[in-house]
Amino acid sequence: MKIIEDIKKQLNNNPDIVERQFLVNDKNVYLLFIKSTIDKTLLVHSVISPLLEHKGEVNLNVLSSSVLKVAEIENVKKDDFVRCLLRSKVLLFVDGETDALAIDMEFFPTRQPAEPPTSPTIQGPREGFTESIKTTIALMRKQLPSKHLVIKSFFVGEMSHTQVSMFYMDNLADKKIVKKIENKLKKINTDIVLDPHYLVEYIVGRPNSLFEQYGSMEKPDIVTAKLMEGRVAIAVDGSPIVITFPFVMFEDIQNSNDYYTNSHYATFIRYVRAFGIIMATVIPGVYLSLRLYHYRVVPLKYILTISATTQNLPFTPFIEVLFILILFQMLYEVSLRLPRYLGIATSIVGALVLGDTGVQAGLISPPGIIVIALSLIAVYTVPNQAPQLNIVRLVFLLLGGTLGLLGVVGGMIYFVNYLNSMNEFNAPNLAPYSPRVQQDLKDGLHKKPIPKMRKRPQSIKSNDDIRGLKSE
């Protein structure tokens, strides 16, 4: 059949493109598919067997309506043949007809939903998304069986034609925000989309910003909670990550575990996380400024301890702290990239050999190591912010080393001001504290019990402020 030869030619005659011809009631019927992307067992049972057993009239309408035992089938024109084939559909041609039937037989190797490594739960749902968008949609449907859930799908990427799905609640999400995101998704002009992070920079207003302007998660319970606050979620086929808009920075201090535990403990742990952010970013800079410029404000007994351990160091405090920081950062990077058993070995070499020997050799000081280690550990109290906090820490280190405490305070104010200037989709980034949104403080650092949170967050625009029935 000429059209089949044309399609194969368009697809470079790749060896996984299979053409099968059958004689059904004296009429030629052709099947064309990419064997690596379809379920062959299903094809045999649902398409080939019924075709071979069919004794009546043979045309596309009859086959689609009363012969083929498949769930999804569509009649497609010539222009869509290649697109359908590439989307794991089986094309069925009948001699003498110009159209074809596209039968959904998609089958890719996927993993089962499991607890994602980025957001483990102590007591709560453990199910996470997988790389298949069908699983993502299924899990969302399971979690949120509501008539208000809207799922819109687009295909983005000139080469990859990746399925991108947008989720929102039509009764909660702000229509303007939905429209804005939808328009931006439709306008994306790129070759390939492998993950939602590929889309972020097309959607946000300040793609060069140091700080995140979106929420990212891997669990349907978290996405559901975000949708219920009027946010919009975006999933991409091929990635278990789902991103949400609008975003406020405080979302990263909140954690799904907070809602599955005692409110008092959640409050305590949120304060710890907030303190962790300060420790992670500012402590090395403050330590350096105190050692270099403001030693007079350090209590005498501490200054004596520090000076006893640092007096013979060959490096200046700034170089020493910078060296330790870079060393730790390299160790961290290596432990991520190497196979697990090698990673452990490298950590031992780094921490014990380099660290301990460095101190004993008088190259680095124990206070320096303690400060940097404390700062590096503290970053992971808010893991989603880790990349940017690592950069901010370096900035504070430079400020503390050059301008002293005044530089560190100035830097803090600069960053707070910078974060305040990020109001993507009209959601103030530092809400509920700046500006102060009284209602949202119930789920701020101090977390109130869930029944007290009758209203949805005011910092995120929503069409319906009250959770549950309004009459209660």
């Binding site: 002293g404 100035g410 600069y414 504290y433």
Partner: protein
């Protein structure tokens, strides 16, 4: 009107404005001039400032969308408005310079004796300019965020000072005669008149029914802390006040061994550093607003460049130390109070009492001109 700030943010601005120029040299100056009666001077000045703030807020209720400039222009015309605003521009630039000089003096005394003026400007200006560039609304949010830390820090300083303090030891507060007290009031006027920015930025503040209540709550709480700190300072350093030019730090240093916690004046240092930047931004924003009214057009970059150059030039070549600017204020700005406490308040009183024209009509006129 998109650049409007909330009432709570205005209240934070007011509270910080009350603190900025009063924590370092002013207590020392007051005690030098009026000994233990300094607290009376401070109370008189605070009372005056509060009354004037009340007038500004009343005017805000009557003319929600008009600033001091439009009100002066309405009564006296554009030229008078521009002359008064030019004077106010100078005042706010001088306030920035005073703030800078106090900060540098403080840094040299307490933190680092080799602290350089240029290093200070290299830190202060980029942060303040970035705040001003990001706009009034954004800066107000940043101040609102930082205010909590300032407040907690101040309470902490006060608490640490209170531990060893006995109120029974406060000296005779009416030691000086009334004329000396009033004379001191006139001399130190420049360090007060903190709420002038409310009149200047009045059109940028969102109107809210209970605005007076919210703003006064913040102001009075700050005032209580401030008066408590003044009382402690006067009691601690009465005759040796001239040796203690950095009030807030010296108060906490005095108690350095409390609870075996070591040298805890780092809290005072951090609180004061936050105040420097925030107050710098408030003065800069007000100066920018005044400048734009004088030149008659709004251009963020032009006004920031002009104000920055003015600050750098005056700071490096004219008022390069604290004594110079204090002498200048005592010699030439003695009568600044006449404008801030008599002329402008009387103008507001007369508007509130006798002006029958509604604010809405003036707003229409203003939008037509724009």
């Amino acid at each position: 009107m998109s650049e409007q700030i909330s009432v709570r943010q205005t209240a934070c601005f007011c509270a910080i404005s009350m603190l900025a120029l009063k924590l370092i040299t002013l207590p020392s100056i007051l005690v030098e001039m009026s000994t233990s009666s300094a607290i009376i001077v401070a109370l008189i000045m605070f009372a005056l400032d509060l009354m004037i703030l009340f007038l500004y807020l009343k005017a805000k209720e009557k003319y929600p969308d008009l600033s001091l400039y439009e009100l002066i222009k309405k009564v006296f015309g554009t030229i008078v408005a521009k002359i008064i605003y030019s004077f106010l521009f100078g005042i706010f630039i001088l306030k920035i310079l005073m703030l800078n000089n106090e900060a540098i003096s403080y840094m040299r005394d307490i933190v680092d004796e080799d602290f350089k003026l240029t290093l200070y400007l290299m830190t202060f200006l980029p942060v303040v300019i970035s705040m001003v560039y990001s706009g009034l609304k954004n800066s107000a949010r940043t101040v609102e965020f930082g205010f909590v830390f300032i407040f907690i820090g101040l309470v902490f300083c006060l608490f640490l000072s209170e531990i060893t303090f006995s109120y029974g030891e406060i000296g005779p507060i009416f030691k000086e005669n009334i004329s000396n007290i009033l004379n001191t009031c006139g001399e130190v006027g420049f360090w007060f008149s903190d709420f002038l920015f409310v009149a200047i930025l009045s059109d940028k503040i969102k109107y809210q029914k209970n605005m007076k209540k919210i703003i006064f709550a913040y102001v009075i709480i700050t005032l209580i802390i401030l008066i408590a700190l003044y009382i402690i300072y006067i009691r601690l350093f009465n005759v040796t006040a001239f040796l203690h030019k950095d009030a807030i730090a010296d108060i906490t240093q005095y108690n350095r061994n409390i609870g075996n916690s070591g040298n805890i004046d780092i809290i005072a240092i951090l609180v004061y550093m936050f105040i420097i930047f925030f107050q710098g931004a408030i003065y800069f924003l007000t100066a920018k607003n005044i400048y734009e009214k004088i030149v008659g057009y709004q251009n963020k970059i032009h006004s920031i460049i002009f104000i920055t150059l003015s600050i750098i030039t005056l700071q490096l070549f004219v008022f390069y130390n604290l004594e110079l600017i204090i002498n200048f204020v005592f010699n030439y700005l003695k009568y600044f109070g006449i404008l801030a406490w008599i002329i402008i308040p009387l103008f507001y009183v007369s508007l509130l009492l006798f002006d029958k024209e509604k604010g809405d009509e003036l707003v229409k006129e203003k939008s037509k001109q724009n």
